[in-house]
């Protein structure tokens, strides 16, 4: 079964691995770069995935934190996260899962042209992290 389990592998020495899951690759990339700029006591690695399950034929380290990214303007991105949750073991939710909502800036007008030609302009990287407590299930988003 292709389910992510938090403790199925031994941890790497002084390493931490974060998995970002979301449909919008450019945003995940930006978030990863921002994370890597911060000081971290361990050696940090960030994996980016569109959805779960992850490709099975790959050797990867133990995942310490999953961040699901949802774009408030896209039902598709929410559905993608909902479906990915099936592939996460319940034990992960004990402090190792986080949900990130993006796109809270309002689009200026529904008539007339979009703010910029590139799809990436439709959302600002002003994400809101839903608190440090145990993760909120997707249904309450």
């Amino acid at each position: 079964m292709s389910v992510l389990r938090p403790l199925d592998k031994l941890p790497g020495l002084n390493t931490a691995t974060i998995l970002l899951v979301g449909t919008e690759d450019v945003l995940l990339q930006q978030l990863a770069e921002a994370m890597l700029k911060e000081d971290c006591t361990s050696e940090l690695k960030v994996h980016l995935a569109k959805s779960l399950p992850l490709p099975s034929n790959v050797n990867r380290p133990r995942i310490d934190l999953i961040v699901f990214v949802v774009n408030l303007h896209s039902k598709h991105s929410l559905r993608n996260v909902e479906e990915s949750l099936h592939h996460v073991d319940a034990a992960f939710f004990l402090g190792k899962v986080s949900f990130l909502a993006t796109g809270d800036r309002r689009l200026s007008s529904h008539h007339g042209a979009a703010p910029g030609p590139h799809a990436a302009d439709l959302r600002r990287p002003c994400a809101q992290r839903l608190g440090p407590e145990p993760a909120v299930p997707a249904a309450e988003l």
Binding site: A32, H47, L48, V58, S74, A114, P117, A120
Partner: protein, 339 residues
């Protein structure tokens, strides 16, 4: 100089932004270097315009000179107008005579003047055997309105003409007729293509948009040819779906190519289809008449926006052919009916 002509000059020159004044006046080439040197271009715009109008009077400028200035202004500001595209065709078996520009111009003018006694027609030649035509419409009894002209850009070596949507729409059939007859064609048809960006319309219609400017090296690995995201990538960032990302880049590139897309502001789809439902019954399923709805996509640069959708993860690749066929088919207005 006639009061109305003088006023026309004043208003035309007033439209020109100060930063472009010198360039446009030089292009117009009606006032001499010496005359331009006598003018203080740093004064208030109203006074500058007054001085320039006086110079025009000195040179005994005519209505046609003013119309020419108006054409030049419009050429510099072509994006201020919305352009439609017309395609002409010759009848079967008609000879392709050698095109004579002067004959075309005189014939075009004659046809319009015969139909409407009061009309101002002016021409300015442009590159690629094109001619810009400015038409100020009047009526049998009223003088032409110089402030609502129509523009036609006709590429004489092609069957295509671009017209600015004039407010006086009733003259459109006459314009089409004059264009068709003067250019020795048989029929004229309006294409379902419209945009502010005349050069993009040209590129689409003459199929010039898909030319890459550097030599296309097909042996370049896909990573380098992609949006440059992979080149400076931090090795601490790992893409789990690399193959899928590469597939999306490849498909996007196959459809949109490496070249910059022609610029359009919108695509409009008129749907007239019957309601289809998986569930049997329901009120809408019994409806005989088709449902009508309009879907409009708009953007400062529609095709670039569509191109960026799949790589950004907002849409799946490949995109619907209804969206990707736009430059190929030369349409941005679609009517979709049941087959």
């Amino acid at each position: 100089m006639d009061e109305t002509v003088s006023e026309f000059f004043r208003r035309t020159i007033l439209k020109i932004p100060l930063t472009e004044m010198m360039t446009i006046l030089k292009t117009w080439n009606f006032l001499s270097e010496n005359q331009l040197q006598t003018v203080n271009f740093r004064q208030r715009k109203e006074s500058l315009v007054q001085d320039l109008v006086l110079l025009c009077e000195e040179n005994r400028a005519s209505l046609n000179d003013a119309a020419l200035l108006d054409i030049i202004y419009t050429q510099f500001h072509r994006h201020q107008k919305v352009w439609d595209v017309f395609q002409m065709s010759k009848g079967p078996g008609e000879d392709t005579d050698l095109f004579d520009m002067e004959q075309f111009k005189s014939s075009f003018k004659k046809i319009l003047k015969r139909a409407l006694k009061n009309v101002t027609v002016s021409f300015r030649d442009a590159e690629e055997n094109a001619v810009w035509i400015r038409i100020a419409w009047g009526t049998q009894y009223g003088k032409p309105n110089q402030y609502k002209p129509a523009y036609v850009v006709y590429y004489s070596q092609t069957p295509y003409a671009f017209t600015s949507s004039s407010q006086l729409k009733s003259n459109l059939p006459l314009l089409g007729q004059a264009l068709t007859i003067a250019s020795k064609h048989h029929q004229i048809v309006k294409m379902d293509l419209r945009s502010r960006y005349l050069d993009s319309l040209k590129a689409i219609v003459f199929k010039q948009y898909n030319q890459t400017f550097e030599t296309h090296n097909s042996t370049t690995p896909l990573q380098e040819r992609s949006l440059g995201l992979d080149i400076n990538m931090d090795s601490r960032i790992i893409h789990e779906n690399k193959t899928e990302k590469e597939r999306v880049q490849r498909v996007t590139q196959e459809i949109f190519g490496d070249y910059p897309q022609p610029r359009l502001e919108f695509a409009q789809y008129k749907l007239e289809t019957k309601f289809k439902s998986d569930l049997n019954g329901g009120i809408l399923a019994e409806r005989e008449e088709p449902l009508r709805c309009l879907v409009k996509f708009s953007s400062p640069h529609l095709l670039e926006a569509l191109k960026s959708l799949a790589p950004a993860g907002i849409a799946d690749a490949p995109l619907s052919p209804l969206l990707t066929c736009i430059p190929n088919k030369g349409m941005n207005y679609f009517k979709i009916r049941d087959k």
